[in-house]
């Protein structure tokens, strides 16, 4: 195995192994870099850009950029977080994200990211309010694409882990959407046990019969800010 090396995130020395991305090394060191499209277990995509950090004078996505010896990375700064908040806010505006009626509320990573990034000021962006489809054809799974943020987690999970390819991108630019490989979800080989049905960060892929089972106050992000598990790891080890 090749030698590990050091680089710095916000002035803190971090150890990385060759081949690790900035985010992988940061996670291991207990430093949280906000992210939406990236999730443990799936290949990195670098699509949402919420993990954008400044490195060597350039803005790069921490989930895809390899760590290098001596790198100086700017992560948790007001400027980086402002850009991230704008990105998250635009994701809210691009779809129809009505938290009060959404069964994912409290377990939603988009919502949790808005909390972490202080998305509380009056908006400067227009609401696009698109008319998107609801596909409830499958007996166990529903798709409310109004809430899709095109992170592509389900695509990667279905292709790489389930070996199915139920989901894929269609269209280009702002018209790019996640679509299913069939007339509707019932006409694909999607199954409730698929890994793809458990990676959606928002309330787009809905497992029927599960909504609102966990009461308010006990949902995942009622217990702490998104990323606190990673940061707690560092605190426990006394590194931060």
């Amino acid at each position: 195995m090749s030698e590990s090396f050091q680089f710095r995130i916000d002035g803190v020395e971090v150890t990385a192994r060759p081949g690790q991305t900035i985010m992988e090394a940061a996670d291991a060191a207990g430093i949280y870099i906000p992210r939406l499209c990236d999730v443990e277990g799936l290949r990195h995509q670098g699509g949402c850009r919420v993990c954008t950090v400044k490195s060597g004078g350039r803005s790069v996505s921490a989930c895809t950029q390899p760590a290098e010896p001596g790198l100086e990375v700017e992560n948790d700064s007001a400027a980086r977080n402002r850009v991230r908040r704008d990105l998250v806010e635009m994701l809210f505006h691009e779809g129809n994200h009505l938290c009060p009626i959404c069964e994912k509320s409290g377990n939603c990573e988009l919502q949790a990211m808005a909390y972490r990034l202080d998305m509380t000021e009056a908006t400067r962006f227009p609401w696009l309010e698109p008319c998107r489809d609801l596909d409830a054809s499958h007996p166990d799974i529903a798709l409310d694409t109004n809430r899709c943020i095109s992170c592509g987690r389900c695509i990667r999970a279905s292709q790489d882990m389930d070996g199915k390819g139920v989901f894929g991108y269609v269209g280009r630019g702002i018209h790019r959407r996640v679509a299913v490989n069939g007339a509707d979800l019932a006409h694909t080989d999607a199954a409730l046990a698929d890994h793809a049905m458990h990676v959606c960060p928002v309330g787009c892929i809905i497992r029927k019969g599960e909504g609102f089972q966990v009461p308010i106050g006990e949902r995942h992000f009622d217990h702490g800010l998104i990323g606190h598990e990673i940061e707690d790891r560092a605190r426990k080890d006394g590194r931060k």
């Binding site: 009505l98 909390y115 309010e129 008319c131």
Partner: protein, 189 residues
């Protein structure tokens, strides 16, 4: 010596469910302390219908779904120094904004009214008409968040916001020390 003037607070519910006004009551006994510090002007709590004088704080529940909401909101902006959007409806349209897009229709307003008054399965509407009396405020093409109509100074998120976040925000504003919310207290539901 005259007593120091108490800051004046006005409140109104536009296209909301009145839940945010109910949430104000979740301040519980701290309401007594708050009432000692402020005077309420026009508000459903006082049943005063128009501004009696300029106010320091205006609290808006709900977004704008008809022209009367828009006139009221503009009136609040003119008469209040600090305008607060209280709750998700005021901030982003909330549940009423479901009629904007989630009806999966290219004409969401028409479909909304037709389902409500003509085609809905559980209707008893003998006239089979959509109400169109001239005294009814004109319904808008869609539901607008408050910040689409006027400048909003502070947004208190929640559906409804907790009594704690309402109280702490009001006290911080009255003390001139409001610097945003603790992240852990933020909820959009």
């Amino acid at each position: 010596m005259t007593e120091a003037r108490k800051p004046r607070v006005a409140t109104v519910s536009l296209a909301g469910c009145f839940g945010c006004h109910m949430a104000v009551l979740d301040i519980d006994e701290r309401m007594i302390a708050l009432m000692g510090r402020v005077e309420f002007d026009r508000s459903p709590l006082t049943d005063i219908k128009t501004f009696t004088q300029r106010c320091d704080i205006g609290i808006i529940e709900g977004g704008c779904c008809n022209e009367e909401n828009v006139h009221t909101l503009i009136d609040f902006r003119k008469n209040c120094d600090v305008l607060i959007a209280l709750g998700q409806c005021a901030i982003m349209g909330g549940l009423p904004a479901m009629r904007n897009a989630i009806m999966h229709s290219r004409e969401p307003l028409r479909e909304c009214l037709e389902e409500a008054y003509i085609s809905g399965p559980y209707l008893r509407n003998a006239t089979r008409l959509i109400p169109n009396d001239p005294v009814l405020p004109l319904i808008l093409d869609k539901v607008y968040p408050c910040s689409d109509i006027v400048d909003i100074d502070v947004q208190i998120p929640g559906c409804a916001p907790s009594g704690d976040i309402i109280f702490s925000t009001l006290v911080a504003l009255l003390d001139g020390k409001f610097k945003g919310f603790a992240r852990e207290t933020l909820r959009f539901d």
